[in-house]
C-alpha cells in the first residue's frame, strides 16, 4: 500500500525524498475540505449530463439508463458549486456540510 503523507507521520516514517507511489490520491480523500455539498432533486433532473461534464474534479458517476441521473462521489467532491451553477434545470442545491 502506498504510504500516505497527508496524515500525521513521524519523521522517520516519511518516504525518503518525500515521494509517493502512483495512485496515492485514491487514498487521499480531498472531499474533507468541503464546506457545502451538492444535493440533487431527482424529480427535476433531465439526465442532460452537464453536471458530469462541468465538475472540475470529475466526481460525477453516470448511474446508467435505468436510474437516469448522475451521482457525485462525496469522497472527492470539494463543494465548489460549479455543478449547481451549470445545471439547466436548477435541480442541484448546495447545502451546508454538517459535521
Amino acid at each position: 500500500m502506498a504510504k500516505q503523507i497527508d496524515a500525521l507521520m513521524k519523521v522517520r516514517d516519511l518516504p525518503v525524498g518525500f515521494t509517493a507511489k502512483p495512485g496515492s490520491t485514491l487514498e487521499f480523500k480531498t472531499g474533507d475540505w468541503r464546506s457545502m455539498r451538492p444535493k440533487l432533486d431527482r424529480g427535476k433532473c433531465s439526465y442532460c449530463g452537464f453536471c458530469y461534464i462541468y465538475c472540475p474534479d470529475g466526481v460525477y458517476q453516470d448511474m446508467g439508463k435505468d436510474e437516469k441521473y448522475y451521482k457525485p462521489d462525496l469522497d472527492y467532491c470539494k463543494g465548489c458549486g460549479v455543478c449547481a451553477q451549470e445545471c439547466p434545470k436548477h435541480c442541484i442545491e448546495m447545502v451546508l456540510e454538517e459535521v
Partner: protein, 391 residues
C-alpha cells in the same frame, strides 16, 4: 598522478574535474564570472571528451529545474552559476534538498546587485544559506579541483544524497592561473563510485516527486531534511580522509593555520585566507601570536570542530564578506557568536566586514584587524567595523 603541476586557469581546472568525474548532465546558463567553467564544459562535450548531455537552458531557473529532474532520473548532474544567476534559481534551490537530489553546483562567488557589480564577495551564497545545500569553500586552485571531485562523492553518498554547492571566489579564484596537479581518469574512478540514487524516477517502478506537504507533514519533511544535512558532516570528514589515501592531499572541515598557540584568531572563508597567511607569517615574525581558522565546510556548520579550533583564543576576529542589512553583525559572526554564547569562557569576539563587490583585501587589512581585535572592549563593540569604508 601527474608528477608535475601544470599552469591552468582555475575555471578550466574545475571543468576538467567535472569531466574526470564523468558527469552525465550539465545544465547551465553562462554568467560572469562563472562563464569559463560552462564554456569549457560545452567544449569538452562537443569534442567528445565528456560523454554528457549539455543543456543550454534559457535561464538559471530552468538550469536548476533541469538539474533536479536529471538527478532524480539517476544522472550525475553538474551546474555552475554566480550572483544574479543564483538568485534566479532561488525557488528551485529550496526544493532540491527535500527531494534529496545530489546536484553539484560550483558558485563563482560574486556580489549581488544593486548596484550592479560583477566582482567578488559572498553575498550570493549568503542569500541562499538556509536552502539546505551542503556548502564548501575552496581557498586556491588545487582545492577548487579537489573539492569538485569530492563534491560528487559527498553529495551522492547514499547517506547524504543532498545537493552541494562548492564556493570559489569569483575572479580571485575563477580567473587566476595556478599550478594544478591533475589526476587521471582512472585515479578519479577509483575514488568516486558510480552514482546510485536513493530516490529515482524509474518507469519500471514509478513514483511521484515534488509533492504537496500539508500542515500534517510539512514540519516533518523539513526536519527530515535538516537531519540529513546535519548528519552529512560525518560523511564529509570521511570523504576527506579517503581523499587523502587516494591523492595524498589532506583536508578538514575546519582548517587552522598557526592557530594552535594563537592569542588572536582570524576567522574567515575562501581565498582571502591565502593573503591572510602571508600577513600572519609577517606578524608572527614580529612576535605576534596570531593565527587563522578557516571554515571549509559552511553547511552543515561544523560547530564542534570550530569550537575546538578556537577554544584557547583570547580574541576572535570574525571576517565577513557580506552585510546583513539592518543587523549589526555579518552572517558568519552572527552564527559564531550564537554558538559560543552559552560557553562560560569565551573569547572576545569582534566582527569585520570587508572585500565587498571586489574591493581588494590586502595584508595591511589583516594587520589592522589583528590590532583592532586586541583592543580592550573589542568584544563589547555594538556592531562590526566596515573596514576601509569612506565616510
Amino acid at each position: 598522478m601527474a608528477a608535475k603541476p601544470v599552469g591552468m586557469e582555475v575555471s578550466i581546472a574545475v571543468s576538467e574535474a567535472v569531466m574526470l568525474c564523468d558527469a552525465d548532465v550539465v545544465a547551465a546558463y553562462p554568467i560572469t564570472p562563472q562563464t569559463h567553467i560552462v564554456e569549457h564544459l560545452s567544449e569538452l562535450v562537443a569534442d567528445g571528451k565528456l560523454d554528457a548531455a549539455y543543456i543550454p537552458v534559457e535561464s538559471e531557473q530552468s538550469a536548476m529545474s533541469s538539474c533536479i529532474g536529471s538527478s532524480a532520473a539517476g544522472a550525475r548532474t553538474f551546474t555552475a552559476t554566480s550572483s544574479q544567476g543564483l538568485a534566479l534559481m532561488n525557488e528551485m534551490l529550496y526544493r532540491a534538498p527535500v527531494l534529496r537530489t545530489p546536484v553539484v553546483m560550483v558558485i563563482a562567488n560574486r556580489a549581488l546587485s544593486a548596484p550592479i557589480n560583477i566582482w567578488n564577495d559572498h553575498s550570493d551564497i549568503m542569500s541562499v544559506r538556509d536552502a539546505g545545500w551542503v556548502a564548501l569553500f575552496a581557498e586556491n586552485g588545487q582545492e577548487s579541483l579537489d573539492m569538485t571531485i569530492l563534491s560528487f562523492r559527498i553529495a551522492e553518498d547514499p547517506r547524504v544524497s543532498l545537493p552541494l554547492s562548492l564556493n570559489i571566489d569569483g575572479f580571485t579564484l575563477s580567473h587566476f592561473i595556478e599550478p594544478i596537479l591533475l589526476p587521471t581518469r582512472e585515479e578519479v574512478r577509483a575514488f568516486l563510485p558510480p552514482f546510485r540514487p536513493i530516490v529515482k524516477l524509474d518507469i519500471a517502478d514509478p513514483i511521484s516527486i515534488g509533492l504537496l506537504g500539508t500542515p500534517e507533514s510539512y514540519t516533518e519533511a523539513r526536519k527530515a531534511t535538516d537531519d540529513a544535512l546535519t548528519a552529512s558532516k560525518q560523511v564529509v570528514s570521511e570523504a576527506f580522509a579517503e581523499f587523502k589515501k587516494h591523492f595524498g592531499r589532506e583536508y578538514r572541515v575546519v582548517e587552522s593555520y598557526r592557530a594552535e598557540d594563537a592569542e588572536t584568531i582570524l576567522v574567515m572563508m575562501g581565498s582571502i585566507a591565502e593573503t591572510a597567511m602571508t600577513a600572519v607569517d609577517e606578524m608572527r615574525d614580529r612576535g605576534e601570536k596570531v593565527g587563522i581558522v578557516r571554515l571549509r565546510l559552511w553547511r552543515p556548520f561544523p560547530v564542534e570542530e570550530f569550537k575546538a579550533a578556537v577554544r584557547h583564543a583570547k580574541n576572535l576576529a570574525v571576517i565577513d564578506r557580506h552585510m546583513v542589512l539592518g543587523v549589526p553583525d555579518g552572517p558568519v559572526a552572527l552564527e559564531v557568536k550564537s554558538f559560543l554564547y552559552a560557553d562560560e569562557v569565551r573569547p572576545n569576539i569582534s566582527n569585520y566586514v570587508l572585500g565587498l563587490g571586489g574591493r581588494d583585501v590586502t595584508r595591511d587589512d589583516f594587520w589592522h584587524i589583528t590590532e583592532r581585535a586586541k583592543q580592550p572592549g573589542a568584544g563589547q563593540r555594538p556592531r562590526y567595523e566596515l573596514v576601509g569604508v569612506m565616510e
